[in-house]
Symmetry: C2
Subunit: 256 residues, 2 copies
């Protein structure tokens, strides 16, 4: 089993060599730009680590892992638009709309989402694509609740906006590794804990969200609880989940 | 076999009763609004008529037909945005962004696209979703060529921007009806002719596009040629294609 850094390198290599659909013509340039902005690739790394824990080579999960990363990037490209978060900078570079204009950025997000489904549908089972569609719809619902302030509560908001894509990173790996549906429950219970952990630590680093509602110490305690639950869920999975445990510890302790 | 009006009524009933993903929360309202604006439903009707010509009940193709209509509506919602065509009115009503604001409209398009894949993935074969992804990516490429003026020629532009979704309306029906891949070629050749016919007649009705480049009479002659080719392709399909022939004649003669 490979460690998270090795898995991340696999993801980067796969994304950098990914052949986008030729019919996109010049639209592909802005999509490549969006993907090249980088980031921690945490979702695809979780997907690959889950596949390896389930006893398969990470390589077979690369299209599924990349699909999740493309959905994540689609959401960033559209969230950055002036009509939504109005962010002209992402990770120190102009965001897609700031670099290519709003029209191309809207189409870039659309194209990333469609390419994500193309990748998810490269498997013989439609289950990979089905789970990705459900997760994407949940994420869009979360984004709606966020921008309208209509969320019934904090937990529902983050479960949708952040949690769906983390949970699906685990779920897609289960289909790729052909883990029978009847044996997926403990893995999925683990996946369901990751989004909240990621979100709380994100808010601690940014000084918003959970820090505003619970204070720094309160948010840190919630993050520690979430990490503890994730480790406990993982302990219930009948497999060598040591790399996934390292990822959980890394998510909890991250400082950027 | 049912006539085009009966098939259209099936599509309308299916769309009006379509249960969107609950996790979308209030975002679903703007998506329903987009779908309720109506239109001729020509793509889903072609899908259903193809399935019936291939010997199946139209009902089994309703999720696939609706998926194509949702992709079409996703493209309209995003095309109408101020950053793209800046259309505040669609079919006599406020467009989605004019009614709900730009942010909700961007998410509405995203949600329609994801719901389209959810519907396409309700079949046991991933082929339905695969074809839909390819067609969507082609359409996005066509939209890019249109707004940037980068199209190598008129035919490439329209084949992508309009043709992909017409061709896929036929192609999805073939997978739903389980027409073996080796027998799909004549059907697909027919599907490839529809987009151009639709586009030229659209331009004649709107007085733009092909009318600008070929004059009214020139455009009419091109439309007649396209209709003739579509009828000829249909004659090569070994099935009762009378309803599809009626649809071709209707597309050629339409006045709105």
């Amino acid at each position: 089993m490979r460690n998270p850094d090795e898995l991340r390198a696999l993801v980067e290599a796969y994304l950098s060599e990914l052949v986008l659909t030729p019919e996109l013509h010049g639209q592909a340039e802005s999509m490549r730009y969006a993907l090249s902005v980088g980031g921690k690739r945490v979702r695809p790394v979780i997907c690959l680590a889950t596949v390896e824990a389930a006893g398969c080579d990470a390589e077979v999960a690369l299209p599924a892992a990349a699909a999740v990363e493309l959905v994540h990037n689609f959401s960033l490209v559209h969230d950055d638009l002036p009509a939504l978060d109005d962010d002209a900078v992402r990770r120190g570079r102009p965001s897609v709309w700031a670099e290519y204009g709003e029209a191309i950025a809207i189409l870039a997000g659309d194209g990333l989402l469609a390419e994500a489904f193309r990748l998810a549908l490269s498997y013989p089972t439609p289950a990979v694509g089905r789970e990705l569609a459900q997760a994407t719809l949940g994420m869009i619902g979360g984004q709606y609740l966020d921008i309208t302030g209509n969320a019934p509560d904090e937990a529902t908001l983050h479960k949708l906006k952040t949690g769906c894509l983390f949970a699906v990173s685990v779920a897609l790996a289960l289909w790729v590794a052909e883990v029978p549906l009847g044996e997926q429950a403990p893995w999925r219970a683990f996946g369901d804990e990751l989004g909240l952990l990621f979100q709380i630590v994100d808010d601690i680093l940014d000084g918003d969200g959970y820090v505003v509602t619970h204070g720094v110490d309160g948010a840190r305690a919630l993050a520690d609880d979430a990490a503890e639950r994730a480790h406990a869920r993982l302990a219930a999975v009948p497999a060598d989940t040591s790399v996934l445990a390292d990822i959980v510890s890394g998510l909890s302790a991250r400082t950027f």
